[in-house]
């Protein structure tokens, strides 16, 4: 039986992790779990700690471990620490050795490979999964990052057939929905709102997601409220700040406050990188034009 399914004993830990409640996941009391699930639980908790920015200590913990799952976690931690090449090398080796059968390795190595830009390899690795929703969600995200919305839609529809009501399928469907738009915006919003507004499942990530859906729906006030809620929980959350920035631009306000906040929280955020790039592009493009007579 799938230990993550509704009846499995890892459901809560698994949900916590995917709802972005990393602290809850890391603090989860795993001692009562049956021995066959202990490793899976440990991997989830380690991943949660990586997500919480404690990659260093995770790396120390798994160093020299024999289990391929823990080695994969090590690769993830290295990635988080910015050592992309080392991470990719480990991931590649693991993928070769254990990729065919080990779902955890698939997901973790897939994540690392995608993160270093080797999407095709990541997809090939993940395609070997046997009913792992984590893998499905990852595949959907990779497709979306590649702007292959059509493939993402297919993947979700296929998963929906065998994993009706799972949290991850709902999430993945919402991600796709936000890309597709139209009526799907509202449906995606429902998914995120349901998670974000229930005290048991609410997290900064779900709140930000809800805000993004609202933003796409043109409900700027509600989006702002959700983002403020998120920032109250975690003032340094780069995504929340970035979206807040976008929101303030959309509503015609000056975004300077948020630009500097973002610079402080995450100078490497794609928004900033992209903006700097575009700013240069503008200057270059503008230089091609000039008036016939000097003004």
């Amino acid at each position: 039986m799938d230990p993550y399914s509704a009846e499995g004993e890892l459901i809560n830990l698994h949900s916590h992790f995917h709802q972005g409640q990393y602290q809850e996941a890391a603090d989860y009391d795993a001692s009562a779990l049956s021995p066959e699930n202990a490793l899976a639980a440990r991997v989830l908790q380690l991943r949660a700690r990586v997500a919480l920015g404690r990659a260093e200590e995770v790396l120390a913990e798994v160093r020299g471990a024999a289990e391929p799952e823990l080695q994969a976690v090590g690769a993830l931690a290295e990635l988080a620490l910015g050592r992309a090449d080392a991470a990719a090398a480990t991931a590649e080796a693991l993928a070769k050795a254990h990729g065919a059968a080990n779902a955890t390795v698939q997901v973790l190595a897939g994540t690392v490979l995608q993160a270093v830009g080797r999407s095709e390899e990541a997809l090939a690795l993940l395609a070997q999964h046997q009913g792992s929703l984590d893998a499905v969600a990852l595949i959907v995200q990779i497709h979306l990052q590649q702007n292959r919305n059509d493939l993402a839609v297919k993947e979700v529809a296929a998963a929906r057939r065998w994993a009706q009501d799972s949290l991850l399928v709902n999430l993945a469907e919402a991600w796709v929905g936000l890309r597709l738009g139209g009526e799907k915006y509202q449906q995606a919003f429902y998914v995120f709102e349901e998670l974000a507004q229930a005290p048991a499942t609410s997290s900064v990530r779900t709140l930000v997601s809800q805000a993004v859906a609202e933003l796409h729906l043109g409900r700027t006030e509600e989006a702002q409220a959700a983002l403020e809620q998120a920032l109250k929980k975690e003032p340094e959350n780069a995504d929340a700040i970035a979206n807040m920035l976008v929101l303030s631009v959309i509503t015609g306000k000056s975004p300077e406050e948020w630009t500097s906040a973002l610079q402080k929280a995450d100078p490497e955020h794609p928004f900033l990188k992209d903006l700097a790039e575009k700013s240069d592009l503008f200057d270059k493009a503008a230089a091609k034009y000039k008036a016939k007579a000097a003004a």
């Binding site: 991943r47 997500a51 988080a80 993160a115 919305n149 009501d165 970035a242 592009l281 000097a294």
Partner: protein, 1218 residues
């Protein structure tokens, strides 16, 4: 309360066998006559026995209330008919005549008659006003068991153990006893004849029909309230339905089912139903049209003897061996659900309708639910899903069923549901857009289902779960008889639990933060995490509740609408004449459904609870507003305020001086207290005031009080303590006047006035004391004179030894001059506001209001002008020329989407550039080069640097970052302005600061800068507007026109402001006036400033500026022309006054001292670069974007207004709408 068999018992009494029952037509009362000779009067709503009447001897079988008078009648086995007063609760009189048991008694609906049936085989009609027997109807040849008047016609129906039912015509009796006002001869004759016949047979009451069909005795018979139908119940265990016409009556059908004697029957007053009771211990309900059984209710041990219906409301009562039960056949609460501004509800004929709160209109029938459940069982609940526009309806039939139906998009007429899904369950509610939850109480399971009606998961709820409600996202509220559980669906566990008994309904506040749990007599307010906030108890049943937007709960009981604040403070809002179910509160309107399932609006006065809410929230502005605008008076609010510790606020409401005084004292507001005390002038008040004032240290008030009270001693002491010696000596004088020696002595003592004391002692012949005083103070002369006067010598006196004379202290500080030190009286924020001390919060709203309309008018004028200008510009501008230029990018475009698998796709940002010919969409897509190309082509844009902020602004607004899988960067999504669109070929990006925003914000800020004379800011703002419009998109052709209007307006302002700024840059006024060259230029520029087409009030400013400048430079002719233009436009009186004054002065000498290049009569425009006139007729160049004009020599330069476009380069025209 709810029994499975489909009736709702509302009241039960325990007594001996009940033989007769009557409902009071108005009050919640029921009369029950018992086999034990007692008649009971119950309040069935409160469940209390009001009175007992015990004058009959033996069983009492019949009772009836009078419809209008406070009377009731009873008949018993003592052969007597008694008429009773409800007021005195006494028997008024007894009608004797029957020779055996009286079975039934009934009042006539309008005439003062009573009809009775008796075992003496007669039916008799009595007049209860003159207490006489009118008519004895004979014909039955066995006990007459029941006789009733027809509700409208002159008919009586009777049932007898002779197995027949008889219908009697009593029109003769009515004729005889209705006294005609005028008596013609014929009348007299006929009347005499009538009497004549009376003596022989009787024509007063003749048998019209004899209905035979029962083959045993008939126990009960009743007319239908409107139709010509009769129903009877007999010992043959049958219920028979009869129809009658003018001429005949016949049996229609028989209802078979009772397996013992049927003892009573009646027609349902409003529905096509028959109810019957029998000795087989059942109540049976039959369908009148089909004669089939609808419900059967069985009691274990009690045989039923009688049944009665309430004439108005849906209530019945049945009497049995051990008492009476009052019941309803069905729930009257209409199933309904509210979503935003729409109410969805199910009508009595089972149609789903909606009601719009804003428009106050009912929709036509959206859907017919006739097929749901059995025909006589109304649906219980309705849950609405806005995402799918579907409803979930539950019905109690067959142990509970639910049905999921999609509402048609546009309902009209009774539409049968298509493709509905149904199943077994007692409660069913939506919990998410694609999930609903079904509770099955018999199996105690909760199923979560998707919209295809497939169970996705299920769980066991806490033991004894009776109902479920939505519990906030992802949660359920599960109701058990003793507690409410908050259940997390995802985690499948109870996250919170609150012990509240008997909760039946849950009502969420509009913001979803609070819920009200309604039980029969309690309202409990909880937070969304199920923490109890407050609870309140009502003695009467609570029916429904709804939340005000401000977080006040309004709830309805059987007869009131009440409110409750979160802290549990509650009160009555209004009374109700019939029970209603609240669904929404908005302002002064309460929307509700009545028992007929019709939406109704009740007017309420929310002042009281709003005020209390404001008080709780300490929202003083709101309170002030309420005090000012509503008549909020009354003891209750004052008592409330006082109790809550706000005497100072209560003070604001009180008119009654005595109360006012009390409150003023309580809150230490001495001024008010003094004012009131003066008004009332009662010693008691002055005493209290003096004490209070003394405590405050306000001695001038204390002084006044003592004066009023004539407390001279106290006054003197007060003066002493405050050191007011002048007043003290006046007190001494007063004492002397009054001849009050004690007081005089005291004052003298305070004043240290020894002489006066001695004088006084002498006056009252107390020479020894006088001597002693003098001696003690060493006044030897005085001593001598006293000795002389008394004729004694020093030796004769036996004196004690003296100490030093004690003198009272001298005042050091003149405290009496001011009240000091005083107790600091805390003036609440509120009082300050009332005194007008708070900034921005005053009662003086009048001046502001007076300004308002004026401003509004001005704005109106501005708008009108703006419109006018727009039209002009449309004519003038040569915008719409040429075909759309399709951007080049499109040519090189290859559709990546079509490739099947592998490789990356193109992002939505790329699509934007593809989908749109607008520069702004290319900018949003990050395709800056193509955007620049487009702008260059459309309006000849060449200098892009000023557009950089706008480019980046648009670009920054285009993407959001969605956190997805952990460890990977967020997913980028593109924000669209086409929110509804999902076709990738049609989607377009969102544009920050669209046209509407610019017009509402930036433009106004620009105007404000102009008004405030902040021209640098203004210039920057208007240029900003130009840049924002240049890179923008609009939604329609008409908006394109608006955009052009905005462009030209911004352009005119930019030119105007730069002219004036240019003038100011010439130098300080002194320098300029010294230099003739500069002076000339300065005057010219000030004149040009008046040329651009800016709003009239702003142009007036420019004109005023020019006029003053010209006047000061003795350019009277120019000043005159400016003054004339000002006067022509009109405006503020002060401005016009100045213009008139200057005009009159200039008219004396209309010459210009300085020659300037400004011809007030010529038509010209201003070159935006050189700020010199371009006279009409001469050649000029313009900016293709903003339309600013230039001398031809500036062709090819960058436009100084927009700073982007090349002057004289004509493009295809700016494109804002594709």
């Amino acid at each position: 309360m709810q029994s499975s068999s489909g009736i709702l018992t509302k009241f039960e009494s325990k007594s001996s066998r009940a033989k007769g029952i009557a409902f009071h037509p108005k009050r919640p009362w029921i009369l029950v006559s018992l086999h034990s000779s007692t008649i009971q009067l119950w309040d069935y709503r409160m469940g209390t026995l009001i009175d007992r009447f015990e004058e009959h001897d033996g069983p009492v079988r019949g009772v009836d209330f009078h419809k209008t008078q406070p009377l009731f009648v009873s008949g018993g086995d003592d052969y007597k008919i008694k008429v009773w007063s409800l007021q005195t609760r006494r028997c008024l009189f007894t009608l004797n005549g029957h020779l055996d048991y009286v079975r039934t008694v009934f009042f006539h609906h309008e005439l003062p008659w009573i009809v009775s049936a008796s075992d003496d085989q007669t039916v008799r009609i009595w007049n209860w006003q003159n207490r006489s027997l009118l008519c004895t109807m004979t014909g039955h040849n066995h006990y007459a068991m029941c006789a009733q008047f027809h509700p409208t016609q002159d008919l009586v129906v009777s049932a007898s153990l002779d197995q027949s039912v008889r219908v009697w015509d009593i029109s003769g009796l009515r004729k005889k006893h209705s006294a005609p006002t005028s008596m013609s001869f014929e009348d007299q004759v006929s009347r005499a004849n009538a009497n004549q016949t009376d003596m022989f047979g009787n024509t007063d009451a003749v048998v019209k029909f004899v209905l035979e069909g029962h083959d045993r005795g008939v126990n009960w018979v009743a007319f239908h309230p409107t139709m010509p139908l009769i129903v009877s119940a007999g010992d043959d265990r049958l219920i028979k339905l009869w129809r009658m016409s003018e001429t005949k009556a016949f049996e229609v059908d028989t209802c078979r089912g009772h397996f013992q004697n049927a003892s009573g029957c009646l027609f349902h007053p409003h529905q096509d139903l028959i109810l019957s009771v029998g000795e087989d211990k059942t109540i049976r309900v039959w369908d009148l049209n089909k004669r089939t059984a609808v419900h059967t209710v069985k009691r274990e041990n009690d045989r039923f003897w009688v049944i009665a219906a309430h004439p108005e409301i849906n209530l019945f009562a049945a009497g049995h061996d051990n008492g009476v039960m009052v019941f309803k056949l069905e729930r009257e609460r209409p199933a309904s659900a509210v979503y935003q501004n729409t109410l969805f509800y199910i009508t009595k004929d089972k149609c789903v309708k909606s009601y719009d709160f804003q428009k106050n209109v009912e929709s036509p029938t959206l859907l017919s639910l006739k097929k749901l459940g059995s025909p006589w069982v109304p649906p219980r609940t309705l849950s609405y899903n806005p995402a799918e526009r579907s409803v979930l309806v539950t019905s109690p039939t067959d142990g509970g069923t639910y049905e999921l139906v999609n509402l048609p998009r546009d309902g009209s007429g009774a539409i049968e549901p298509a493709g509905s899904k149904r199943g077994q369950g007692n409660s069913a509610i939506f919990v998410a857009r694609n999930r609903f939850v079904v509770l099955n109480t018999s199996t105690q399971t909760v199923d979560i289902k998707d919209l295809m009606n497939n169970t996705t998961r299920s769980f066991k709820p806490p033991v004894g779960t009776s109902d479920i409600y939505f519990g906030g996202t992802g949660n359920l509220l599960i109701l058990t008889p003793t507690a409410v559980h908050l259940y997390d669906i995802q985690q499948k566990k109870t996250t919170a639990e609150l012990a509240v008994t008997g909760v039946k309904y849950v009502v969420w506040s509009n913001d979803g933060l609070y819920a009200a749990l309604l039980s029969k007599h309690n309202v409990t307010i909880v937070t969304k995490t199920l923490e109890q906030v407050s609870t309140l108890h009502e003695t009467i049943r609570i029916k429904s509740a709804t939340w005000d937007d401000a977080g006040v709960l309004l709830y309805s009981t059987l007869n009131h609408v009440k409110y409750s604040l979160l802290n549990g403070d509650n009160g009555i809002v209004r009374t109700l004449d019939q029970t209603v179910y609240l669904v929404r509160v908005k302002g002064r309107n309460v929307y509700c459904l009545d028992r007929a399932a019709k939406p109704r609006i009740l007017q309420i006065d929310p002042t009281e609870y709003r005020f209390k809410l404001a008080l709780v929230k300490r929202n003083y502005e709101e309170m002030l507003h309420i005090i000012q605008n509503s008549s909020l008076v009354g003891q209750s609010i004052i008592a409330y305020l006082q109790k809550k510790g706000y005497p100072e606020i209560a003070l604001q409401f009180v008119q009654d001086p005595a109360t006012r005084f009390e409150l003023a004292i309580e809150c230490g507001n001495l001024e008010v207290a003094v004012e009131v005390a003066k008004q009332l002038d009662r010693p008691k008040l002055w005493t209290r005031l003096s004490t209070e004032a003394l405590a405050h240290g306000n001695h001038s008030i204390v002084e006044m009080c003592y004066q009023k009270l004539k407390h001279f001693d106290k006054l003197s002491f007060l003066y002493l303590t405050t050191g007011d010696n002048t007043k003290l000596s006046r007190m001494a004088k007063i004492a002397e006047h009054r001849g009050d020696f004690t007081s005089r002595f005291q004052n003298a003592l305070y004043l240290n006035d020894v002489e006066d004391r001695i004088q006084m002692f002498k006056e009252i012949d107390l020479y020894p004391l006088a001597y002693m005083t003098a001696k003690a103070h060493g006044l030897e002369e005085e001593c001598q004179s006293i000795l002389e006067a008394t004729g004694l010598t020093e030796e004769q006196l036996n004196l004690p030894t003296f100490g030093e004379p004690l003198t009272p202290p001298k005042p050091v500080v003149p405290t009496y001059k001011a009240n000091w030190p005083t107790k600091t009286t805390s003036q609440s924020f509120f009082e300050k506001a009332l005194l007008g001390q708070m900034e921005g919060l005053s009662l003086e709203e009048e001046p502001a209001a007076a300004n308002g309309p004026g401003e509004a008018e001005e704005e109106g004028a501005v708008k009108k002008d703006a419109l006018g200008e727009a039209e002009e510009d449309e004519d003038a501008a040569g915008w719409d020329m040429g075909e759309d230029i399709v951007p080049e990018v499109e040519e090189g475009f290859v559709n990546v989407d079509s490739t099947e698998a592998g490789g990356a796709g193109s992002s939505e940002a790329d699509l934007w550039a593809r989908n749109s010919p607008l520069a702004v969409d290319h900018v949003a897509g990050g395709s800056f080069e193509t955007a620049m190309q487009l702008l260059n082509r459309q309006v000849g844009a060449v200098n892009f640097a000023p557009l950089k902020p706008r480019f980046l602004e648009v670009y920054q607004a285009s993407k959001t970052y969605l956190p997805a899988s952990a460890g990977l960067p967020s997913l980028v999504n593109y924000v669209r302005r086409t929110v509804e669109e999902s076709d990738p070929r049609e989607v377009l990006p969102i544009i920050p600061r669209d046209l509407e925003y610019l017009a509402a914000n930036d433009l106004q800020r620009g105007y404000d800068a102009m008004k405030a004379n902040k021209l640098e800011d203004g210039l920057r703002i208007f240029k900003g507007i130009l840049h924002a419009v240049l890179v923008n998109a609009v939604g329609s052709e008409s908006e394109v026109a608006e955009a052009k209007k905005l462009i030209s307006s911004a352009s005119e302002y930019a030119v105007a402001m730069s002219i004036e700024l240019g003038r100011r840059a010439l130098g300080s006024p002194d320098e300029v006036s010294k230099n003739p060259q500069l002076l000339k230029r300065s005057l010219e520029l000030s004149a040009y400033f008046t040329i651009p087409k800016i709003e009239v009030p702003h142009r007036q400013l420019a004109l005023l500026n020019a006029m003053n400048l010209s006047f000061r430079s003795k350019n009277h002719s120019s000043a005159l022309s400016f003054a004339n233009r000002i006067l022509a436009h009109g405006g503020a009186s002060k401005l016009l006054e100045t213009a008139r004054r200057i005009k009159s002065q200039c008219e004396r000498n209309p010459h210009d001292a300085v020659e300037i290049e400004f011809d007030q009569f010529a038509e010209f425009e201003i070159c935006a670069a050189s700020h010199t006139p371009i006279y009409s007729g001469t050649a000029y160049e313009e900016c293709a974007f903003d339309g600013s004009k230039y001398h031809t020599k500036y062709k090819g330069t960058v436009c100084t207004v927009c700073e982007v476009c090349e002057v004289g380069k004509h493009g295809s025209g700016l494109k804002l709408f594709a």
